[in-house]
Amino acid sequence: MLGAAEFREFVALRSAGLLRTAYLLVGDWGHAEDVLQTALTKTYLAWRRLGRIESVDAYARRVVVTTATSWWRRRWHGERPTRVLPEQARVADPSAELVERDVMWRQVGALPARQRAVLVLRYYEDLTESETARVLGVSVGTVKSQHSRALATLRARLAEAGVEPAHPGQRPSWPGSALPEGRSDA
């Protein structure tokens, strides 16, 4: 049976990672810590029932996600996105990639909580669709549909903002900017 010593060891090993996941879900480090503390308390209450150490991590992550998405009732505590980029964003690289990620972050924050959670689990936690479905307590079909909708929304909003995501290291496409060699206008 798992005891307090094992719980402390688990917290020491996994709290930083769980905090990062919570932050990506709620958009603010302070609130992420609150979510994590609540989730760890719930995990401790369930500790005695978790008979295999392998299930602890999945349980704790699930509690973090459900606490973040339901407790905060889909409130985003980070910055709010705007439909129009501020003028200072339309500059040449190397800051263009920074702006692109900033725009991406803002638009992710504008997504519904469930869609945001799917993206965090798929692209930060690197979970499969079925693993994501288990964490969220939904069907694989729901994960697929939420994933599709989220990406479609991001594509549309980034296009509205005049941002076309580039490969890492490649200059993103801005209106009026020169295209990389070998690439023609579509």
Binding site: A4, R8, V11, A12, S15, A16, L19, R20, Y23, L24, W29, H31, D34, L36, Q37, T38, L40, T41, K42, T43, Y44, L45, R49, T66, S70, W71, W72, R73, R75, W76, E100, R101, M104, W105, V108, P112, L119, V120, Y123, Y124, R134, G137, V138, S139, G141, T142, K144, S145, Q146, S148, R149, L151, A152, L154, R155, L158, P165, A166, H167, P168
Partner: protein, 414 residues
């Protein structure tokens, strides 16, 4: 992986790269957990005293303090409530409404009811609760190893809990002129049925069923039909919505039980904010097409029949997922926005009026008291906030004991 996905991944990793240091997390969790266990042990040993009878509860359930706003008063909105914050620090004690935290129901009069027998199962969580004659309706969602087996159970809690319905997408509604009494709608995908009935005294009556409704893609899009689930009861209809797996195509529709089985009508797409106070119409985010090639998102009051627009404001001032809470006296809307609960004049909102006031940090849904004199919601730390619209200062109530979860406010349907 495409460029969008790669950028998304890099954005997440860069954003989360530098986390602040954490201290004493394990110790704090252990202390909080042990306090909760001790409290549960005390409650279990005094169960006969805790689970008191419900006779006479109704008199204490809804507070009767402060003045009720006179709907005919012509005082400007900013003059009818305090713009100052709460005058007292959050205190434990009687709450303005019943709440559920984790697996305990905390009554407004200070009593408690343990929901451990229905809410402490593996993968279970309370999704919603309503105060009804003789007790409460409590919806418990259970997630399973096989996600397709997830289901919700609606219990009547009055002494020993009894099952009312088992299904998915359970909707509990106060009823309408056409469908008086508390309405419960739910889907039973395993049986291929969607149902609606009237709840009273622990039983459902007048239950109508239809084969599970499906939506079909517009011409030229193709693909398989997908199921529609209940999201509200309005007028004599059960409002439906569903999203197709794979491409995320959305659809809305309505089923009229009095007319028999569901027939797909190809209703326009909406996103439900609420129903009107009388339950007869829908308040929703909807599209209009002012000219060829352009689309505009609007706020609309819609009839369940064909989702015909009764009145609308374009563009809408709200996000499609914002929840609207109309006051019982019809004077206000409290809207759950990303900035917090935001108050609007229910008539002027259609004339492009802006918000009256916002309460930042409010996150937890809400219920109205005293016909619209006060609104109860939840702050991020679990504190219950009572917003007074009659000039009294707002009040806060701390979470009971060391309860770790967020309160679920209970709507009174009596």
């Amino acid at each position: 992986m495409g460029r969008l996905e790669e950028t998304l991944r890099e954005t997440f990793h860069r954003r989360a790269a530098v986390a602040p240091p954490l201290e004493n997390l394990a110790d704090r969790a252990i202390r909080a957990g042990r306090r909760i266990r001790r409290r549960h042990t005390v409650l279990a040993s005094t169960a006969a005293a805790v689970c008191v009878g419900l006779v006479g509860f109704g008199a204490a359930a809804v507070t009767n303090r402060n003045n009720i706003i006179d709907p005919a008063a012509s005082t400007s909105p900013t003059g009818t409530f305090s713009t100052a914050g709460p005058t007292t620090s959050p205190q434990p004690g009687p709450r303005p409404v019943d709440v559920i935290i984790d697996s305990t129901l905390y009554r407004a009069d200070g009593g408690q009811v343990s929901l451990g027998s229905i809410a402490s199962c593996e993968g279970c969580r309370v999704e919603g609760a309503w105060r009804v004659d003789g007790g409460w309706l409590v919806e418990v969602h259970q997630s399973n190893e096989a996600p397709a087996a997830d289901q919700s159970t609606l219990y009547r809690v009055s002494g020993s809990p009894t099952v009312v319905v088992v299904g998915t997408s359970i909707v509990v509604s106060p009823g309408t002129r056409s469908r008086p009494g508390i309405q419960v709608a739910w889907a039973a995908p395993a049986e291929g049925l969607l149902s609606v009935g009237t709840y009273s005294d622990g039983l459902l009556s007048g239950v109508a069923d239809t084969p599970m409704p499906y939506a079909e893609a517009p011409p030229g899009v193709g693909g398989d039909p997908w199921p529609l689930y209940p999201v509200a009861v309005a007028g004599d209809a059960v409002v439906l919505a569903g999203t197709r797996a794979g491409d995320g195509l959305d659809a809305s529709d309505a089923w009229f039980p009095a007319l028999g089985a569901f027939v797909a009508e190809g209703y326009p797409l909406i996103r439900l904010h609420s129903t009107t106070v009388d339950g007869e119409r829908i308040i929703a985010w909807h599209y209009r097409f002012p000219d060829s090639g352009s689309t505009e998102a609007c706020l609309g009051e819609l009839s369940p029949e064909g989702f015909a627009v009764v009145r609308s404001r374009c563009p809408t001032p709200f996000q499609d997922h914002d929840r609207i809470y109309p006051s019982p006296d019809g004077r206000w809307w409290m809207v759950g926005t990303e900035q917090g609960m935001t108050l609007y004049d229910a008539d002027e909102v259609w004339d492009e009026a802006g918000p009256v006031r916002t309460w930042p940090g409010t996150v937890g849904g809400g219920v109205w008291l005293d016909e619209g004199a006060a609104f109860v919601t939840v702050l991020g730390d679990g504190t219950v906030l009572t917003i007074h619209l009659d000039g009294e200062p707002d009040e806060t109530t701390a979470p009971p004991g060391s309860a770790a979860g967020s309160p679920i406010l209970i709507t009174d349907l009596r």
